[in-house]
């Protein structure tokens, strides 16, 4: 591995299980007639662009592996099990099988430990991979032919504040980038979170009945549009700067640290990303974006 590794693509890849449910992949037990097409078509475009890029590993940070003590990394080479969403078990019962790039995970872990972060390798073979990781990986790479590095979400937003979370996530992002460079690998990064995140607490009797789907409130929508506009014009540092306000005002799922981590790992790109889709899922706001550092303008590689 003489060549320097790098992040060849990165995506904001939210994980509403509804999107997998509506796709009807053979791994998922329930089936749907339709639903959330804007987002699913957005993911389709993301996949089309990713098909033109060679990468070795997917590194994903998911809000649904919640750790209160440190940041954890999946450290078992192969997982095969059933993932049932605790909130939407009616929609998501997914039989998954995946490889883990334990070498890269360990490099990140060690690098983070050397830099004073609280970290741990997760080495229990009975562990169940969280559904956020599974949904984001499946929608980005449904063939599951690439190993992943799974990173937990440290809940420092709950335990301290958004500011502490941000500090930690920025540091973890920088360490992620450096570990990838040392590894010599070509990597796709995924931040698995929604934007605004206030849910409805009731569900239509047919979950994919789109006549019930809309943003939870106007205020959330305004925030989502503000953040999307900033991302589209390359103001990523500014997005990180307003993150505390965004999280407080729109209950954003970026409180998990995943989005700050991703932007930090990309070193706050100022180029225009590829904007694939925006759509709501049970009231939450979701955007799919792609950043391609190797392409001329940063957008789609074609």
């Amino acid at each position: 591995m003489s060549e320097k590794g790098r992040i060849v693509a990165a995506a904001l890849a939210p994980h509403p299980p509804h999107l997998v449910y509506a796709e009807n992949p053979p791994q998922n037990e329930p089936s749907a007639e339709c639903g959330w097409e804007q987002l699913r078509w957005g993911y389709e475009k993301l996949r089309r662009d990713l098909a033109d890029i060679e990468f070795d590993t997917i590194v994903v940070l998911s809000p649904h592996w919640q750790t209160y003590v440190g940041t954890h990394f999946l450290g078992v080479p192969h997982f095969k099990s059933l993932s049932v969403d605790p909130v939407f078990p009616n929609l998501f019962r997914f039989h998954y099988e995946m490889d883990v790039d334990v070498d890269l995970a360990r490099m990140m872990h060690d690098e983070a430990a050397d830099n004073g972060l609280v970290v741990k390798m997760m080495e229990n073979p009975d562990f169940r991979v969280d559904y956020g990781t599974i949904v984001s990986c499946h929608l980005s790479n449904p063939s599951w032919d690439k190993p992943i590095v799974g990173i937990s979400s440290n809940r420092s937003t709950s335990y301290y504040s958004v500011e502490v979370m941000q500090e930690q996530a920025r540091e973890l992002g920088r360490i992620t980038r450096e570990a990838i460079e040392k590894s010599g690998k070509r990597v796709l990064l995924l931040a698995s979170n929604s934007l605004s995140h206030r849910h409805f607490t009731t569900e239509a009797s047919v979950p994919e009945d789109m006549s019930h789907e809309h943003i939870y409130n106007h205020h959330q929508y305004l925030w989502d549009m503000r953040v999307i506009e900033m991302l589209r014009s390359g103001k990523t540092q500014e997005v990180v700067d307003i993150m505390p306000e965004f999280i407080e005002q729109a209950v954003s799922e970026s409180d998990a640290g995943s989005f700050t981590w991703l932007l930090s790992a990309l070193d706050y790109p100022r180029f225009e990303p590829e904007f694939y889709a925006y759509g709501t899922v049970i009231g939450t706001g979701n955007a799919i974006f792609g950043w391609y550092p190797d392409s001329e303008e940063g957008g789609s590689p074609q």
């Binding site: 562990f127 809940r155 335990y159």
Partner: protein, 462 residues
């Protein structure tokens, strides 16, 4: 006498189950679990109802209804302590009853019955230690992240309804720590301690109250407890609201603190509450009590059982407007005021008063009781009563129900002496075999020139 025989508070962090030998306090908690298990046996509990703060829900309230859930559980954080294989026994009838009772109180609730459903660490720890041989069937309920006091109290009352309906001696188990701030770095087990002196002070206050059996007093303090010693992962600290509501909202318990020790920084406590007639005495309500939930949760219409048939594709069928739980149908007489033909509330269907007027023409079978000048005229009470029942049938069917689902009728007659016999004869032809409860009243007048009107409550159908 209440069928609730015990209340228990237990911590859900896995150390007392997986690593009691590593720390004296963890072992003390393990022994506390054992003492609580003995109490469960002695009080003859036939059902354990678990509320876990570690099972968050977003879509209303979830109720575990898998008969024998089985898995090898691993905690998200403390995975290095080892795996927890489990196989539990759930009371699926109770789960169903609780779902129904919750819906009746206006809550969104559903049972979950799926292989591989991820039962939370707290529930797993509690059931493994309190009921290791599954001798007592259990039920687990979630903690809605957005639910505030009103919703938590109503969900507690729904559980109380279900326990009464179910009729089994029940133990309530709330899975929570007192202060909940974990250490955010890995610690040597020997160094475990309550995270801060402030957390310790508040924990001591809670132990004092609960040791005196003052459950409702602690429930009243929930918001303050949340501010002082709870990491804000959810809208509020709600388990005591729920538990006190289930157990009857009072302070009349014998409290016993079996164990209290630090659990990775949090305050772990095993406490039992045994209902007693001579408890600490009356509580003072600082906030309104609430019986049914009518908050802003129902933003997404949960749908109606009635099918909407577009008029242009099925002209022969009556149009049914059912975008909300109210029902209007073109096949029944047009309302003479601002009211729907029917409205569904929980598991009951309420009909507005129904007279004999004909749907399209407004004609009154058997003739109106007064002529155009308002003078009395001869009319046929049997024909009017028949028409009333026919209109009721149409409305019930448009609501997905039917005449045989009627449970209660109030009948209004403008002339009891003249009409009772005729009305009663026709009534018996339809309802004699169905046997709803009935009240017949004489009144001075009805809004249109008719002699009879029925007010009906029915089951929604099936």
């Amino acid at each position: 006498m209440s069928t609730i025989v015990k209340g228990l508070l237990v911590p859900g962090i896995p150390h007392p189950l997986l690593a009691p030998e590593q720390n004296e306090g963890w072992q003390k908690l393990r022994d506390g679990f054992e003492a609580a298990r003995q109490e469960l046996i002695e009080c003859g509990a036939e059902l354990i109802l678990v509320y876990s703060t570690m099972w968050p829900s977003v879509i209303g309230h979830q109720i575990q209804a898998r008969a024998e859930p089985e898995w090898v559980h691993v905690d998200d954080v403390f995975h290095d302590l080892g795996s927890i294989p489990y196989k539990f026994k759930m009371d699926t009838d109770f789960a169903q009853t609780l779902q129904e009772c919750s819906t009746e109180r206006g809550l969104h609730a559903r049972t979950v019955d799926y292989h591989g459903f991820p039962i939370d660490t707290g529930s797993v720890v509690a059931l493994k230690l309190l009921n290791p041989d599954n001798t007592i069937p259990a039920c687990i309920v979630s903690s809605n992240v957005y639910a505030d006091r009103a919703e938590s109290v109503v969900f507690g009352k729904a559980a109380r309804d279900a326990i009464e309906r179910h009729g089994k001696k029940t133990a309530i188990v709330t899975v929570m720590t007192l202060s909940n701030r974990l250490f955010t770095e890995f610690i040597d087990p020997a160094d475990d301690a309550i995270h801060s002196p402030k957390d310790e002070e508040w924990n001591q206050k809670l132990l004092e109250f609960l040791g005196q059996g003052r459950l409702e007093d602690v429930a009243q303090l929930s918001r303050e407890v949340h501010r002082q010693i709870r990491v804000k992962k959810v809208v509020n600290f709600k388990p005591m609201w729920w538990m006190s509501a289930v157990m009857g909202q009072n302070n009349n318990y014998d409290g016993c603190v079996h164990a209290y020790a630090p659990l990775y920084g949090t305050g772990g406590a095993v406490i039992s509450l045994t209902p007693t007639p001579s408890g600490f005495g009356n509580k003072e309500f600082d906030e309104d009590d609430v019986e049914s939930f009518s908050g802003d949760r129902n933003v997404v219409d949960s749908g109606s059982k009635t099918q909407l048939e577009p008029e242009d594709t099925l002209p022969a069928e009556p149009t049914v407007h059912t975008s909300s739980p109210t029902i209007q149908t073109d096949a029944a007489p047009k309302p003479v005021g601002s009211y729907p033909h029917a409205r569904r509330v929980g598991d009951l269907l309420y009909l507005s008063g129904v007279g004999p007027r004909q749907p399209k023409t407004n004609d009154i079978p058997g003739g109106p009781i007064r002529d155009e000048n308002g003078d009395p005229r001869e009319y046929d009470i049997e024909a009017q009563t028949k028409a009333v029942i026919e209109n009721i049938r149409v409305i019930l069917e448009a609501s997905g129900s039917s005449l045989d689902q009627v449970v209660d009728i109030t009948a209004f007659l403008v002339d009891m002496d003249r009409d009772f016999a005729g009305y009663n004869k026709v009534y018996n032809e339809t309802f004699g075999s169905i046997q709803p409860t009935r009240t017949t009243l004489a009144i001075r007048a009805l809004p249109t020139p008719i002699a009879v009107e029925f007010k009906v409550v029915a089951l929604p159908g099936g």
